[in-house]
């Protein structure tokens, strides 16, 4: 089954300079009762974004009309906590194609890659440069190229390369799917079971 293809984007970014953003913040557990993958974007960062009467909290970045774009930029250890893939679904469903941070939790990173949402790990210094650029000019664009594995602040030309598992890169740039790959080795699985 083909998955979403990601090769290159260039867009403005949404800054969220908070560390240890856990998956309970990204999508609180009470919204995990849905049995499909759709619509989680409405509840992305629910309790930071809305008050108890469901009114938008003005101070939260997703409610600030100055900031928009397809790249979410967040503090280190993004996506820690629960394994809920709903967190990756919520971020993608809201409209983000990539998340940039100086450190990602393992399970979140895997879940993101399985959903065509690219986690881009940068140095602490580069993360600060992105925050500085976007706070100086909220339209500041960032370019992410998965094929050549670099991220660039367009206005200044500053860039950094990033790591990605070569297999997952092939999946994302071609739309390959893990299950198709494993099932292509079905004979080996049965051979293993027979041992």
């Amino acid at each position: 089954m083909a998955t979403k293809i990601f090769k290159h984007i260039q867009t403005s970014v949404v800054p969220l300079p908070i560390e240890n953003i856990d998956t309970d913040q990204i999508i609180p557990a009470r919204f995990l009762k849905a049995t499909t993958r759709d619509g989680f974007g409405n509840n992305l960062f629910r309790d930071w974004r809305f008050d108890e009467n469901d009114n938008p909290k003005e101070e939260f970045v997703l409610n600030n009309p100055n900031f928009s774009g397809k790249i979410l930029v967040a503090g280190k250890n993004f996506g820690c906590g629960s394994s809920r893939e709903h967190a990756a679904w919520a971020i993608a469903d809201y409209g983000f194609d990539a998340v940039v941070s100086s450190f990602f939790a393992d399970i979140f990173k895997g879940n993101a890659l399985n959903n065509g949402l690219l986690p881009v790990q940068v140095s602490e210094d580069f993360l600060k440069k992105i925050f500085d650029a976007v706070y100086a000019d909220h339209t500041a664009a960032v370019e992410i190229d998965l094929v050549d594995q670099f991220i660039k602040i367009v206005a200044t030309g500053e860039q950094e390369t990033f790591e990605v598992n070569p297999y997952k890169k092939a999946c994302m740039t071609n739309g390959y799917d893990d299950i198709d790959y494993i099932l292509s080795k079905k004979e080996l699985i049965e051979e293993f079971e027979g041992k």
Binding site: P17, P28, A29, S82, N165
Partner: protein
């Protein structure tokens, strides 16, 4: 060169290993539950695939179930629909379901071990990050996302790159009133909520070795709270004794064969770890968390750190956490009034936890300002507690024993801590809103939680232990 325990188990499960690709790892048992499986079953339907090995898949309903009146239909419509969907999916795909009302129902990480499904040397996955619990048996156990749940359903395999290996040793004698929960909260407070990311962590040392299986499960359970991919402890006589005779444990000749294999499962003396950390049991106090991630923990008599003690770039996140918790720099938690006590979750809801709490609260009564919930980890734990008369002790103490489920650990069902209220909780996460919108969580051991319920404020269990020693 020798091998680590982790590598021995990993190598025994590699179906295919290709340069540039993650390994294809065979999974012995796949545990599933109602919350992270429906989209995976949908995926199988779309692909026209069956569950590859339904007999190696075990289902239960735990995350989203009520903990009172489980014999009645679930009131909340979305929850009922989700639980019914699991029943329907299990029937359609031929999977054994330990659903509500079944004598084996319970929190997935409690029932696997107590049924003898979790065994040394095995590989286990579940769409839940606390799957690391099963590593206590000397097994590899990963929490996975729903796409991977679908992957394991479709292939009985997981595509996974081998993580780095870390050894965490704890040696020495624990102080009275300090237990497994304090050990793991202490370790996480020392290495941070991200300190184990990218690693499979093996816990070793004589302190770890002295723990019961249930204590070891508490330790491995919270491996994910330091970001680790999994946690594991080499099997020994304690492990073998625990597994022996359980419902699905091997029997007869199979048992002897299994035990002989399990005895080969340890890290060789010259095995290389990517990282080795050592801690002294004597340095560990009863622990409590003050912040909004499990790394923000202190000894119960210590003070909350000052903002200025953090690097400038971390201060914003730190201030946000303290503000959320309604705390200030240098505050001491000891003596702070609390509103709720939750004893339960896959970390601390097993029979030993309940026995320990019952023994302590016998003849005492909770403070008027506190609501206490005791939620057993499984139907079997609940019935065992009742057989031992623990429910009566709990009732007399004002600690009602509820029915099994994840409950207020994640507040998916109606067991939510109200906004602004403080809860001393034996669960594993103190994230913002984890136990209900704007709830405030102090993570602690069952003994610290029980003592705090009695006094109505954050309490050092050791003050009670001293008094009781004097009396006796």
């Amino acid at each position: 060169m020798g091998q680590t325990l982790f590598d021995k188990i990993w190598d025994a499960h590699v179906v295919s290993s290709n340069e540039g690709f993650p390994d294809i790892l065979y999974i012995d048992t796949h545990f599933i539950h109602e919350v992270t499986s429906p989209q995976a079953f949908d995926g199988l339907r779309t692909r026209g695939l069956p569950v590859f090995r339904p007999k190696q898949t075990v289902a239960t309903a735990d995350h989203n179930v009520p903990t009172i009146d489980q014999h009645l239909p679930i009131k909340e419509e979305l929850s009922r629909y989700q639980v019914d969907m699991l029943t329907k999916n299990c029937k359609e795909f031929g999977i054994e379901l330990y659903g509500l009302g079944h004598p084996f129902q319970g929190i997935v990480h409690v029932i696997g071990p107590e049924l003898g499904i979790t065994r040394p040397g095995g590989t286990y996955v579940c769409g839940d990050s606390h799957t690391s619990t099963h590593g206590a048996f000397g097994a590899i156990a990963f929490g996975i996302g729903t796409s991977q749940v679908e992957q394991v359903m479709a292939t009985q395999c997981l595509l996974q790159s081998r993580p780095k290996r870390m050894k965490i040793e704890v040696n020495g004698k624990l102080h009275k009133g300090v237990g497994a929960k304090d050990i793991i909260l202490y370790i996480i407070s020392q290495i941070s909520a991200a300190g184990g990311t990218g690693y499979a962590v093996e816990y070793a040392g004589d302190t770890i070795r002295s723990l019961s299986m249930e204590g070891r499960m508490t330790i491995c359970n919270m491996s994910i709270e330091m970001g680790a991919r999994c946690g594991l402890i080499a099997p020994d006589e304690t492990t073998i004794e625990y597994v022996k005779g359980r419902e699905f444990a091997p029997k007869g000749e199979e048992w002897d064969k299994a035990v002989a294999y399990w005895k080969t499962l340890y890290s060789d003396a010259d095995a290389q770890f990517d990282e080795v950390l050592s801690f002294r049991a004597e340095d560990i106090e009863p622990m409590i968390t003050y912040g909004t991630n499990p790394g923000m923990g202190i000894g119960v008599t210590q003070h909350v750190p000052e903002t200025a003690s953090f690097e400038a770039k971390e201060q914003g996140s730190y201030k946000k956490a303290l503000e959320y918790m309604g705390l200030h720099d240098d505050e001491q938690l000891l003596g702070k009034p609390i509103d709720y006590v939750f004893i339960g979750s896959c970390t601390n809801s097993r029979i030993e936890d309940l026995r320990q709490v019952a023994e302590f609260v016998k003849g005492k009564h909770k403070a008027d300002n506190v609501t206490v919930w005791v939620v057993p980890g499984s139907k079997q734990v609940q019935e065992q507690a009742i057989r031992e008369g623990l429910d009566k002790i709990f009732n007399e103490a004002g600690f009602p024993l509820r029915e099994p489920g994840c409950s207020a650990c994640l507040g998916m069902n109606e067991d939510k801590i109200p906004a602004g209220k403080y809860c001393v909780s034996t669960s594993n996460r103190n994230f913002e809103g984890r136990q209900g919108p704007n709830s405030r969580t102090f993570l602690a051991s069952p003994l610290t939680a029980a003592a705090s319920a009695i006094t109505g404020k954050v309490t050092d269990i050791r003050t009670f232990l001293k008094e009781e020693e004097l009396v006796s």
